[in-house]
Symmetry: C2
Subunit: 218 residues, 2 copies
């Protein structure tokens, strides 16, 4: 039987996983807004992220309360310290989805994306959602298969990001400077989103091993 | 007389302040590299940041040790929790200086900056250094004057960042897409650097008041 203390840690982890899911849902919605020039989707991202920010404050408070009342040590302590980092990463993932939504809103009713990069952003959006879901799953069960898929998807995201640079920097680019800048910033938002999922996976690893030499990817 | 426990907290805070100073020195050196097309300066940034990353791991470990052995509560607990966030922010500030240095290295021997934006980046570099120094100072003494100067300098940085967008997106921009992209990314690195200094000031505030409603600016 789990003690009350371990039930508190379970509740924190379950909230952390939910935060990652919310960040993934926000990036999915922001990507829909981007791909289909959907202002309403973009606006909804910004509203729904308020839930994520509220959860962050609640989980941070819960973690502080556990530290103050239970004075955990060893791996239990690392779970709580990892938690306060993970709330920060998940909230930041939501913030990056908000950045995508804001660019959609800023350019509306014009599309942000020229047709020839819609496929690239579809793929980056799918990767981002997978990464957030895998991060949620790794938090709950530490599944090493999912953790290694996070690394692979992050690599794939970095490749997409580099490809985007090649596209907009090529002499064949015909959409001008403002469109190029939007694309480079969007690419960076998706790439940073992936980095935070990697950071979460590294935090989970630290939680069980105490290993701080892994790149936390920030 | 300070107890051994409070001496440990003082040592952590002193290391955090040093980390901010190192991040500021790295951004100063990266800006010198950028403004004077100095490859050696850019390379030195990358080497010197290893010290910052090592300090981050050491301070994170020291904070964990304090939590495990001393089980602090109330404001002492908040000092330690703030510390693990601040190491992350300061290390990330160093990472952003590294991003600037890498662009300098990538374009070398060509300059990254067209002449007409050298003044803007000189100013952004100065703001970044001031922000890092003020963050260091706020960590040590919580000086509200310095804390409010961080807010002002961050606002000034945001203005510079917006001005940069106006410059490169203007029809008068004559330096092409690749230069525009470099500038927008550089602008974002300086602006994010400032955001982390703001986050550090907010953490220091949380440390003394427990207030988590302030925007941690990530």
């Amino acid at each position: 039987m789990r003690t009350e203390f371990h039930q508190q840690l379970d509740a924190i982890n379950s909230d952390l996983a939910r935060m990652c899911e919310l960040a993934g849902e926000a990036m999915q919605l922001a990507t829909v807004g981007l791909l289909t020039v959907d202002l309403e989707a973009a606006e909804r991202v910004l509203t729904e992220l308020e839930v994520l920010s509220r959860m962050r404050r609640e989980v941070d408070q819960a973690a502080l309360a556990v530290l103050a009342r239970q004075a955990p040590v060893a791996s239990d302590l690392r779970v709580v310290v990892a938690a306060v980092h993970i709330t920060s990463d998940a909230d930041r993932m939501g913030g990056l989805a908000a950045h995508v939504a804001r660019i959609v809103r800023l350019r509306h009713p014009d599309p942000v994306l020229p047709n020839d990069v819609v496929g690239q952003f579809t793929e980056m959006g799918n990767l981002a959602v997978d990464l957030a879901e895998d991060a949620a799953s790794v938090i709950i069960d530490g599944d090493p298969v999912r953790a290694s898929r996070i690394r692979d998807d992050d690599e794939a995201m970095n490749d997409m990001h580099r490809r985007l640079f090649t596209t907009v920097m090529s002499p064949a680019w015909s959409h001008g400077v403002p469109a190029a800048i939007d694309l480079v910033l969007l690419g960076r938002f998706y790439e940073r989103f992936a980095d935070h999922a990697v950071a979460i996976a590294a935090r989970v690893l630290f939680r069980s091993t105490g290993d701080t030499t892994r790149d936390f990817g920030q």
